[in-house]
Amino acid sequence: MATEPKKEETDEGEGGEFAEFLADVSQEIAQRVESLGGGPKPRAEEKKKTPVVADAGLIAEWPNIADRIIEEMR
């Protein structure tokens, strides 16, 4: 069954929905991290696999992005 959409409450306070989300997620992460124990030993440097956006809003660390965009534009 689908839950009914909760209508946005105006002026509920900035970050209200986000705060609830953050609380839920924090709890889950805490449980998950605990269940994983200490985990493997820390590694010195590790490359991020997911794309990131630099402060300037430019997309970085996404290999071949220019090629792919050109491909789309054709």
Binding site: M1, A2, T3, E4, P5, K6, K7, E8, E14, G15, G16, E17, F18, A19, E20, F21, L22, D24, V25, S26, E28, I29, A30, R32, V33, E34, L36, G38, G39, P40, K41, P42, R43, A44, E45, E46, K48, K49, T50, P51, V52, V53, D55, G57, I59, I65, R68, I69, E71, E72
Partner: protein, 201 residues
């Protein structure tokens, strides 16, 4: 795959909002962005055409701060829904941890929903994911439209949700159902968090 990185003390999860054109994927991200407190508002990157349709993708980095000693980030992406941006959709799916399928509830859009879902499964398979096990939630958007114009939740669920994944009714334009959907996919993704393999060459 999302990983608890004990080396850098980071948790990063990539969530992609998928669905047909104009189903409300960007609207979902815009609502999330609008609810962020100022100190957490980063940059939402959106590449749109003159008619406000997503050209390549939207990207919203969600910095959740330090949780249990780990810098935690959710990266929310949308894909362009139009059929001719197939390569971009595949590109955005790389490294995905969870997918929100945003379906357009309008009856006349049912076929587009089906095609987009098939496209998702096909692209996931091509990217090496098992479409049957990757965390997925369905969002039936635009429930605020007149009843005569939209499919029933039962019909949408029967047609689209053959995996029986969590599903949510939403009106993203008003913010309804947006965070419920995000919370659900976040929960599914987090339940699969794992420590990275200890092997090192």
């Amino acid at each position: 795959m999302s990983v608890v990185n004990y080396g850098t003390r980071e948790i990063t999860c990539k969530i992609v909002y998928y669905g047909p054109g104009r189903s409300g994927k960007t609207t979902n991200l815009q609502h999330v962005y609008s609810q962020l407190p100022e100190e957490r508002k980063g940059k939402m990157v959106s590449l749109a055409t003159e008619t406000d349709r997503t050209l390549f993708f939207d990207f919203l980095p969600l910095d959740l701060g330090t949780i249990s000693g780990f810098a935690t980030r959710f990266q929310l992406y949308t894909v362009p829904g139009q059929v001719y941006y197939a390569a971009t959709r595949k590109l955005v799916l790389q490294g995905v941890d969870g997918v929100v399928f945003v379906a357009d509830s309008q009856s006349r859009q049912l076929e587009e929903n089906i095609e987009s879902l098939q496209d998702l499964h096909s692209n996931l398979a091509e990217e090496g994911f098992d479409p049957r096990t990757l965390p997925l939630v369905m969002q039936y958007n635009k429930r605020d439209l007149p009843a005569a114009e939209i499919s029933s939740l039962e019909e949408l669920d029967e047609t689209l949700n053959f995996r029986g994944v969590p599903h949510f009714s939403a009106s993203a334009i008003n913010g309804g159902g947006v965070f419920e959907t995000l919370r659900s996919i976040a929960s599914l993704v987090l339940s699969r968090l794992s420590a990275p393999a200890a092997k090192e060459s």
